[in-house]
């Protein structure tokens, strides 16, 4: 098979990228391993999606449904569901699907496979390994798609958003969520979720606290938990036992890059190292969505897909022009600023960034060769919420540095 733009992954990033490439007159194939388009949105049945993109509050499946309907109507887009990419080669992929194994060649490819959850192994969870330890996303699929409960007495480790959402979901379905334990002094989850998923149901959120040991032979029987100091060392005198049959982990997400060993990765995001066109070190491969950097809002994933779909389409048509390279760097106030390089030119551009710590009433300043290019006032910014900064590139030469002042 042959196409102009191949999109790997049919979640919000992939669907949005495909629609945008099609709008620019490219022929597109989407490869999706599940039986229906939508990606992780299909199991995120809670509301709160779409406020920015559709100016309306939707659930995950509803957000996915809107995009799926647009994709299905689009004559330039062909969708291969139940199909998995097994190998990336030079300008072609090997896929396994309903028609067996085949190759798809393309002019440009967009990787939009999302991210994966950190597991018990990733965080070196100590104690035994009985049944009843699962990630928040697995628990979410069990309850919302398969209609089964993972357990009755639950402890959640980590206060990521999916963990908070599952605390509420399991409570509503009749389970007792005893506590959410967070090893850090602050939560990475959205404040709205802490209020509506924990406070509403009087579920305690214990900071600087983690599981010391999981107990149980065949099934989880409980956990020893306690506090940690500022270096994350356990304070043994605070150790307590909590009886439970299930431990749910919500301890972070990692971009799904393991089949892409040749692609250069940024060490902060674990996603591809991309330029202003969201192009990886293989110029025909573009990246967007959670495989590039883990987003907090699907609206931003869809917007990124739209941007990147156009870049990939232009590349496939031989129309993607590059200026001289601008190196992007930042002060220690930022976790990362993306993209990692820009091109010199006259147009407006936008960077996305995540802060390391909360800031209140500060300026974000962009400088090039010692000269201030642009600044933006921030009333309040937190690490949990990705921010953007748009500015004209006209006077930016060779390098740009971002600072908080």
């Amino acid at each position: 098979m042959k196409t102009e733009v191949l999109v790997v992954g049919g979640g919000p990033a992939g669907m949005s990228a495909a629609l945008s490439a099609s709008e620019n007159e490219s022929k597109v194939i989407i490869v999706e391993r599940d039986k229906v388009l939508g990606g992780i949105l299909n199991q995120c049945i809670h509301n709160g999606f779409g406020l920015h993109y559709f100016q309306e509050e939707l659930t995950g499946p509803e957000f996915a449904h809107r995009f799926r309907k647009m994709v299905e109507k689009d004559k330039n887009i062909k969708v291969l569901t139940n199909t998995l990419v097994t190998e990336f080669k030079d300008k072609k992929v090997v896929v396994m699907g309903e028609n067996g194994k085949q190759e798809i060649t393309f002019d440009a490819c967009i990787i939009a496979m999302g991210c994966r959850e950190r597991t018990a192994g990733n965080i070196s969870l100590t104690g035994t390994r009985p049944m009843g330890i699962l990630t928040a996303g697995s628990a979410q699929k069990m309850v919302n798609i398969d209609g089964k409960m993972p357990g009755k007495d639950i402890v959640i480790l980590g206060s990521g958003d999916i963990g908070l959402i599952m605390a509420r979901r399991l409570t509503l379905e009749g389970a007792k969520v005893h506590a959410v334990l967070e090893i850090n002094p602050t939560s990475s989850g959205l404040r709205r979720n802490i209020l509506q998923c924990l406070d509403d149901f009087n579920i305690p959120l214990l900071y600087n606290t983690t599981i010391f040991d999981v107990v149980g032979k065949d099934r989880v029987e409980g956990v020893y938990y306690g506090q940690v100091d500022e270096h994350y060392n356990r304070i043994e005198s605070t150790k307590k036992f909590l009886k439970c049959d299930t431990v749910i982990l919500s301890v972070g997400l990692i971009p799904e890059m393991q089949n892409l060993q040749d692609i250069s990765v940024n060490s902060k995001t674990n996603g591809a190292f991309v330029n202003e066109h969201y192009q990886t070190n293989k110029p025909w491969m573009f990246s967007c969505g959670n495989i590039l950097h883990v987003h907090d809002l699907v609206d931003n994933v869809a917007l990124e897909g739209k941007q990147v779909g156009l870049f990939a389409s232009l590349y496939a048509q031989g129309k993607l022009n590059e200026g001289n390279l601008i190196k992007v760097s930042h002060s220690a106030d930022f976790a990362y600023v993306l993209p990692y390089t820009l091109f010199e030119g006259d147009e407006q551009t936008e960077v996305k960034f995540r802060l390391k710590n909360k800031i209140v009433r500060k300026w974000i300043v962009a400088e090039s060769q010692g000269k201030e290019i642009a600044k933006k006032f921030v009333l309040a910014g937190v690490p949990g919420e990705m921010m953007t900064f748009a500015f004209p590139k006209k006077d930016v030469k060779k390098e740009i540095v971002f600072k908080v002042v």
Partner: protein
């Protein structure tokens, strides 16, 4: 007099609010703007929430939601109404409970299929 502490969720600033209720009078402190007062008053007088869940059908469980926020105090009652249902095949947007418990909200199917 009732006193409650809460974090405002109207913007990333996340002001720590102290809300006191004395009879009908609600006082808010710790807010940096008027939105904090609106938020605190609503949380104290009639907090409303959209309920999302899943409903049993002949083809497995399917996601559903209330079309409007319902009073927070009624969340578990709405859940019980949803739990009672045993439906045949449903499709996106189907109304499965009209005006659930007199809240003026319908329960509709949201599953993407």
């Amino acid at each position: 007099m009732e006193k409650r502490e809460m974090t405002c969720i109207m913007c990333p600033l996340g002001c720590s609010l102290v809300v006191t209720k004395d009879g009908d009078e609600i006082k808010v402190s710790g807010n940096n703007c008027q939105r904090g007062v609106v938020f605190a008053k609503e949380e104290l007088t009639c907090p409303m929430r959209i309920v999302t869940s899943s409903v049993k059908t002949s083809e497995g469980v399917k996601a559903c939601k209330t079309t409007k926020p319902v009073p927070k105090a009624k969340i578990f009652d709405v859940m019980k109404e949803i739990e009672k249902l045993r439906l045949k095949k449903v499709k996106f947007g189907d109304v499965v409970i009209k005006n659930v418990l007199g809240t003026d909200a319908d329960v509709i199917i949201t599953a993407n299929e």
